[in-house]
């Protein structure tokens, strides 16, 4: 039986900070100029999801790999580490 990415993220421990550590700089670029919208499929945590008029950022499940930051064809993602002590916390690593 295949496991969804949501099931996978559910295995992990997170300490979520109320302030997002990821921000799309300009939604217009995503919706009008970006043909690939690579963030929708390269992110291993499916943080980015396509809504009617924008791309939403579900930073809570972020695995902190950085792929979206360099993989966005327009470098349109501002990405910082979560605040100290926040974000994912590995059990095994």
């Amino acid at each position: 039986m295949s496991m969804s990415v949501e099931d996978k993220l559910f295995l992990n421990r997170y300490q979520v900070h109320e302030e997002p550590h990821i921000r799309i700089l300009d939604q217009e670029t995503c919706m009008n100029d970006c043909r690939e919208q690579a963030c929708l499929f390269i992110c291993p945590a499916r943080v980015y999801q396509l809504e009617e008029d924008r791309i939403s950022v579900h930073y809570e499940g972020c695995l902190e790999c950085g792929t979206c930051r360099i993989g966005c064809p327009h470098l349109n993602i501002e990405w910082e580490f979560p605040k100290g002590g926040y974000g994912g916390r590995h059990k095994f690593g």
Binding site: M3, K8, E80, G84, G88, H90, G93
Partner: protein
């Protein structure tokens, strides 16, 4: 108000902690800043480590109760096609006795926490839950400390060791090294799958404390330049699969789907059957090789480990290069300390030493290897399928003479690849590793 130390280290991974151990041994006032809740909380690797490199930092590591998962006695390589695959492996009794802990598996959350504790015992200060957000510089531009996300969190230091890992927003922001291009890093995802210890022993044909590593090449990455792996831990298996970020983008393949497909391969599914997934993680691996190692020192700073792109993809050596580069950086800092100067020229002794070590020598030997894989995508698509066809022809007993089967194999190869293409593949492959 700010704190003052001789050395500030960014990141409590194997590079930073190794440096801290060496510096603390020499009584240098050292602070290690770690963004995770504890050292190891953010850290991940496939899970393989090497005893001889660890012993160069901690000669008595085996007496310090390191959280080793399993001592590796057998190493396998799989070359997978869609439904089948070739296996090649080596096992030796020596790995159970004299060469024990030559290679072993770890869970980095536990291991790095233990490792950081050894540095603390030696006198280094390790501060967790603290993100370094900027570098402090003097009027000449030399690095003189770090800014953290704590209130009044500036830390002044004579020299800063940047061992903050391959994904470094700090590098992106301050430019101490260039941000990687998508084709210079691979994205790996990992799942830890729990199984009863006895089940692992039986399935892998190993005694209680020993284990097996399996490196997986071929069609498992579905035409993308990448690798998979399956490693044995005490009570779990680590399953890893990854590919070049540019390839993920071009192929529009979701990493978690790639993992699910990998888990469904008949050679993998039998091994993980009945297991319970416990954790899912992701991380980059440096793919650029020797030609994409950045300048590893400047005025008031050095770079070690993953942050310096020190990774040997062919031999899956990364954590050990981190340890040895961290140690080497610390030794260069000790020399600079004697001279009382931390400018780029003085610190360049670090790069010189690395050049003489196995790190630069190995990476130089394989400098063409990343390009070889990126160029010859047939290694991940056409070739494994040809291999599968050949094996099925020869192993299916159906009354057809072997000569005819050989002809069918050659015909199939010639249909998919030119002689020249095959020659180029072998030639380029040989040249990339010789």
């Amino acid at each position: 108000m700010s704190e003052q130390f001789e050395v500030a280290i960014v990141g409590a991974g194997p590079a930073g902690i190794s440096a801290a151990c060496v510096l603390a041994d020499h009584g240098v006032e050292t602070i290690v800043l770690e963004r995770g809740e504890f050292p190891g909380a953010k850290n991940i690797s496939g899970g393989v480590l090497y005893g001889s490199d660890l012993a160069r930092i901690l000669p008595d590591f085996e007496d310090r109760k390191p959280p080793i998962e399993r001592n590796i006695v057998e190493q396998r390589i799989w070359y997978l096609a869609d439904q089948g695959g070739y296996t090649f492996s080596y096992r030796d009794g020596l790995f159970e006795t004299d060469l024990r802990n030559n290679v072993f598996t770890v869970g980095r959350a536990k291991f790095d926490r233990w490792f950081a504790n050894q540095a603390k015992r030696k006198g280094a200060l390790v501060v967790s839950g603290t993100v370094v957000t900027d570098l402090l510089r003097d009027e000449q531009g030399a690095v003189r400390g770090v800014r953290t996300d704590r209130p009044e969190g500036d830390v002044e230091a004579n020299v800063v060791l940047l061992s903050d890992g391959i994904n470094s927003p700090l590098a992106a922001q301050t430019g101490f090294r260039p941000e990687p291009e998508p084709d210079h890093v691979a994205l790996g995802v990992k799942e830890v799958i729990e199984l009863p210890r006895e089940t692992i022993n039986e399935r892998m044909n190993v005694p209680e404390a020993d284990g097996v590593t399996i490196e997986v090449l071929g069609a498992a990455t579905q035409g993308m330049n990448g690798v998979g792996a399956l490693y044995t831990n005490r009570d779990s298996l680590s399953l890893v699969i990854g590919a070049n970020v540019a390839d993920f983008r071009d192929h529009k393949k979701e990493p978690y789907e790639l993992m699910e497909d990998f888990k469904g391969h008949p050679m993998v599914s039998r091994l993980i059957e009945g297991g319970t997934p416990r954790e899912y993680m992701a991380h980059w691996l440096a793919e650029g090789g020797y030609d994409h190692i950045p300048e590893l020192c400047g005025d008031g700073f050095l770079i070690a480990g993953d942050s310096g792109m020190l990774f040997n993809a062919l031999h899956r050596e990364g954590s050990n290069m981190a340890m040895i580069s961290g140690k080497t950086a610390a030794e260069a800092i000790l020399e600079a300390r004697e001279q009382g100067r931390y400018d780029a020229n003085t610190l360049r002794a670090y790069t010189e030493r690395l050049r003489e070590s196995f790190i630069f020598k190995d990476l130089k030997k394989y400098r063409k290897f990343p390009g070889f894989l990126q160029k010859h995508k047939e290694l991940f698509s056409t070739l494994p399928e040809l291999g599968r066809h050949a094996a099925l022809e020869m192993l299916t007993v159906d009354g057809v003479p072997k000569k005819e089967k050989q002809r069918a194999i050659w015909k199939n190869i010639k249909r998919s690849m030119t002689r020249w293409g095959l020659f180029k593949l072998i030639w380029d492959g040989w040249r990339s590793v010789k």
